[in-house]
Amino acid sequence: MKKKNKRVIPGFGISMGVTLTMVSVIVLIPLATLVIYTAQMSFPEIIATITRGRVLSSFYVSFITAFAASAINAVMGLILAWVLVRYEFPGKRILDGMIELPFALPTAVAGISLTYLTTDSGWIGSFFAKFGIQIAYTRLGITFALIFVGIPFVVRSIQPVLEKLDPSYEEAASVLGASRTRIFWKVIFPEVLSSLCTGFGLAFGRCLGEYGSIVFIAGNKPYYTEITPLIIMSELQEFDYPSATAIALVMLIAAFLILFINNLIQARNTKILNGNR
């Protein structure tokens, strides 16, 4: 890191003030209410609530499907980013522009159309049905929907890094006789690894909490395709606020941890990048 005097640039007070105020009003205070409501329960009660069989299995379902979807997205995201940055081909701009579509399509609409596609009479589902694979109303279906939701995160995290990556390293390695796979793993992969982690983390966090599209495609069978957000909804249905908030708090802490670790990686990454200069 460069050495510099502290705060040469004016305006720290006001910009910090505005930032903190807005973070508090929009994020911190609302999230704090969640903690306060959960605190109405005693600690053993909270533990009992979040370790019920159905809740635990919903954590498992949410976790495993989100993980699978983000892993697939990590691989596909890397390929997509690579293709979008390194190759020129007709229709590239269109491909590039489509990446953010999952943000703009309401999750409910996405869920309905994805279910329509993947039931055994749908366009995609009928193809897989021939091999005896059912997508809609299984964990596979949940993963499918989560892949849709998570696409933009990985691609958009890696893309800028790949764009900045200097091809001269690769050329040098190539001149020195390294094979292409070797170049990829030794030269390119280490450079994009941390942004890949960031994208993976963001997609993972987003997928853990996804609700709108999943309820349509999941089938919601307890112990099989019941996700945690749905459990929260059913606790609310029973007017059981403390349980709902307790489970919500677990998810919130998970989301926070994922992001925090992510930011640590990112910070390390910037340090390395700046140090290289």
Binding site: I29, P30, L31, L34, Y87, P106, I124, S174, G212, T270
Partner: protein
């Protein structure tokens, strides 16, 4: 770029995989929306999209989106400036907090605002006395939209500002320029395209928000239904064609936005290069 060195096979294999993947994951769902929307012909489609409730829902969606974009732009500029131009303790914690709305489940996002402003909250009597309705009214919807799109603009700005460093700003400060002047003359030109890009993303995401808004809206027909909620309602009324027709409005708006984004990015790149 040194495409010549890449073997053509790998190149086209990767392109094929990408195109296939995006086709299955993104294009097919859109095709479903479009084909279903026009299943009963153009007249039925037009009737659905010009319905009184659809138009009101569209207006509300635009209102919530605009507000979210304005609030988040202001926030994004301040936050990005604070985080990249100054050193202070707890920076990682702050960036984590800013990012949290992306990963918080929409259900939870709705729930927290109900807990904060709903009837069982301590604030409720005060709001009531001032005749301010938050939950199950337009402010709640706007709040939820702002929440879910909160980090979108700052996330775009921070990496750009980080790579720019602080040298130019410091130099200007030493020459005696005020904070606002520095921002306007030095920082803003660097981030112009990133900012526009962030705005487009934020708009796209705000338009489509469903989960959190659904918890906070109360689904009052013609009053607190946004476009995505209106789709859900139509769907629940077994009006599949109108439901998909209304969805297609969102899809079209999204495509317009993304085309805009693509153009902006292209412009951004071409103007950046001489720098």
């Amino acid at each position: 770029m040194n495409q010549n060195k890449q073997s053509g096979f790998v190149k086209w294999l990767l392109i094929t995989i990408s195109v296939l993947f995006l086709f299955v994951m993104l294009v097919l769902p859109l095709l479903v929306v479009i084909t279903q929307a026009f299943k009963s012909g153009v007249a039925a489609y037009l009737k659905a999209v010009t319905d009184k409730y659809t138009v009101r829902a569209l207006l509300l969606t635009l209102e919530a989106t605009l507000t979210a974009v304005v609030v988040n732009t202001i926030f994004g500029l301040f936050a990005a400036w604070t985080i990249t131009k100054f050193k202070f303790k707890g920076k990682k914690l702050l960036t984590t907090l800013i990012d949290i709305p992306v990963t918080v489940s929409p259900v939870i996002a709705g729930l927290i605002f109900i807990l904060l402003f709903g009837r069982q909250s301590l604030l409720y009597p005060i709001l009531k006395a001032c005749h301010i309705k938050v939950v199950f009214a337009v402010p709640g919807i706007i709040l939820a939209t702002v929440f879910v799109t909160f980090p979108f603009i700052s996330r775009e700005l921070i990496p750009v500002l980080e790579t720019e460093g602080t040298d130019e700003e410091e130099a200007a400060a030493l020459m005696g320029a005020g904070a606002f002047t520095i921002f306007r003359k030095i920082t803003l030109p660097h981030i112009r395209w990133a900012l526009l890009y962030g705005i487009v993303l934020c708009t796209a995401r705000a338009m489509g928000e469903f989960g959190a808004v659904s918890v906070l809206s109360g689904h009052l027909r013609g009053l607190t239904n946004t476009l995505p909620l209106h789709v859900e309602i139509l769907f629940n009324e077994f009006q599949y064609v109108p439901a998909f027709a209304v969805s297609s409005i969102l899809v079209i708006l999204a495509i317009i936005l993304l085309v805009m984004r693509s153009v902006l990015e292209h412009k951004g790149k071409t103007t950046k290069k001489p720098l």
